[in-house]
């Protein structure tokens, strides 16, 4: 009697959960990175996408490492990330079938206006080597994100092993804006994508405590792409909706919207879907 009532109640709740959990028909689940989300770009593009295609875009913003893992586990339908070497390996390993380049910006090294390491205007490889030899504070995302992967690449290019355990190397394990805040607090240097830096400046009324110290060079290019998951690995992923999203992001309309997305009069991302 008491047990029966309790079991019925339990079953009713489980049923309620299952019903409540049923997913909306035309919804696309995307895993993306903190830079596309925190800059506000997705909030700006999503309504237009829904207007044009009738598909609701839902996204969770995590580090690139986690986004790729979610794709591997088929917990999402599509990815929007920025780690081309990792993406190409991902396709080779069979988790995604294709990638479409959508937009880019560049990475920059930012630091205190006073530039204690004296690296302003240097090539990024030389700048990092100088920061390293001077034991100047350098803050890293430390979270296996697209940005973090690029940063590790730069340290390799600068020569020597990764500064893992060095006292001056600070690994936050957090998103780009958090990391920028910590960098400003510690008076150190960090590597950021320009879009997030512009957002950060905007938040600081156009006069942030960190300046762009090092920029330019092909190695600092930051390419964003949409990845379609391999339907062999994820048969239940909504491939048609994912392809509609990829096509829409590359369309003239979306590319123009991306170009028009500005803060402080500066574009945060540069569309490049139809170039090579």
């Amino acid at each position: 009697m008491m047990k029966k009532r309790f079991m019925t109640g339990l079953l009713a709740l489980v049923a309620a959960i299952a019903v409540a959990g049923s997913v909306h028909a035309k919804a696309l689940m995307m895993a993306t990175t903190t830079s596309t989300d925190n800059t506000g770009l997705l909030d700006y593009l999503a309504p237009e996408f829904t207007k044009d295609t009738g598909i609701e875009l839902k996204w969770t913003s995590v580090g690139t490492g986690k986004a790729l893992k979610l794709g591997m586990n088929c917990d999402v339908d599509v990815l929007l990330v920025h780690a081309p070497p990792a993406e190409k390996k991902y396709i080779k390993d069979g988790y995604a079938e294709s990638r479409k380049e959508i937009m880019f910006n560049d990475f920059v090294i930012v630091g205190p206006k006073a530039d204690p390491a004296g690296v302003k205007g240097m090539d990024v490889e030389k700048a990092l080597a100088t920061i390293r030899s001077g034991h100047k504070t350098f803050v890293s995302r430390g979270d296996n994100s697209g940005t973090n992967k690029k940063e590790k690449l730069l340290w390799k290019a600068a020569g020597g092993p990764l500064p893992e355990k060095e006292a001056w190397y600070v690994q936050t394990g957090q998103g780009m804006l958090s990391t920028l805040n910590i960098t400003a607090e510690r008076g150190g240097y960090t590597m950021t994508d320009r879009g997030t830096y512009i957002k950060y400046s905007h938040k600081n009324g156009g006069n942030p405590p960190l300046d762009v110290i090092v920029e330019g060079g092909v190695i600092l290019k930051n390419q964003y792409s949409v990845l379609i998951l391999n339907s062999g690995n994820c048969p239940k992923a909504k491939k048609d909706l994912a392809e509609a999203f990829s096509a829409w992001m590359a369309s003239d309309k979306a590319q123009e919207l991306i170009a028009k997305f500005r803060l402080l009069g500066k574009p945060l991302f540069i569309p490049n879907a139809n170039q090579g």
Binding site: M1, F6, A20, G21, W59, S178, K236
Partner: protein
């Protein structure tokens, strides 16, 4: 420091203007909490009753296990639930990942030890004479259970309030299995985490104050019931 004062002003603005994003976060928090409180009470109160009321071999061990589960970190629970609900996991077919029910599953795991342990404690301290009195009045098993529960109702309400506090303020589970998806699974706490992550501290404070306001409303209603 001024972001705290700024936060107070923003909280008022958010509440008065009925900001849709805040409203969405509030609704999501309440929906998830409601489901998880429901589930944990249905399972936890009878479980706590058995644990506190009856004497049996292994009672001490069972009690120790339940008390240890009180220390489950929310991110750990989130990770476990993700492992089960992921498409790669055993329950992946249910399609629950990144939905409110998924958050509720995790929050139930969080709340269950609280409800069970506190209900058991309440019953432990119950006057042993009550059982004999009820039996001598001719109560059957069901009436025994219900009457005893009624006697300790304030203790159970306290257990529920404690569990509710843990459930409404957790971030680890909501973030991991909810995904902090705007309009869908963004709770007040994940919204605070997001805003502070973006460096928008005043917004974080404002949302925190909104959460406190809700907790206040809940507790005022409960205290009315108490008298």
């Amino acid at each position: 420091m001024d972001f705290i004062v700024d936060g107070f002003y923003r909280a008022l603005v958010l509440l008065i203007q009925g900001d849709p994003q805040t409203l969405s976060a509030v609704t999501t928090t309440l929906k998830a909490a409601f489901l998880s409180m429901g589930m944990s009470l249905v399972i936890g109160v009878p479980a706590g009753f058995c644990l506190g009321y009856y004497e049996f071999r292994g009672k001490k061990t069972a009690r120790t296990i339940v008390d240890t589960m009180l220390a489950l970190p929310t991110v750990f629970i989130g990770l476990l639930v993700y492992a089960f609900l992921s498409n790669r996991g055993p329950l992946g077919g249910l399609g629950l990942l990144f939905t409110i029910p998924a958050i509720s599953v995790g929050q139930t795991i969080l709340a269950l030890p609280v409800i069970t342990a506190l209900t058991a404690s309440t019953l432990d301290s119950l006057d042993k004479g009550l059982r004999l009195t009820l039996i001598s009045l001719g109560a059957d098993k069901r009436q025994l259970f219900l009457s005893t529960l009624w006697e300790v109702r304030y203790g159970i309400v306290a257990a529920a309030m404690t569990a509710m506090g843990r459930v409404m303020t957790e971030v680890g589970i909501s973030m991991m299995v909810g995904g902090n998806i705007k309009w869908h699974t963004r709770t007040i706490t994940t919204a605070i985490a997001l805003e502070t992550g973006k460096g928008m501290f005043a917004e974080g404070i404002a949302l925190g104050l909104v959460l406190l306001a809700i907790a206040l409303v809940v507790n005022v209603s409960v205290s009315v019931f108490r008298r």
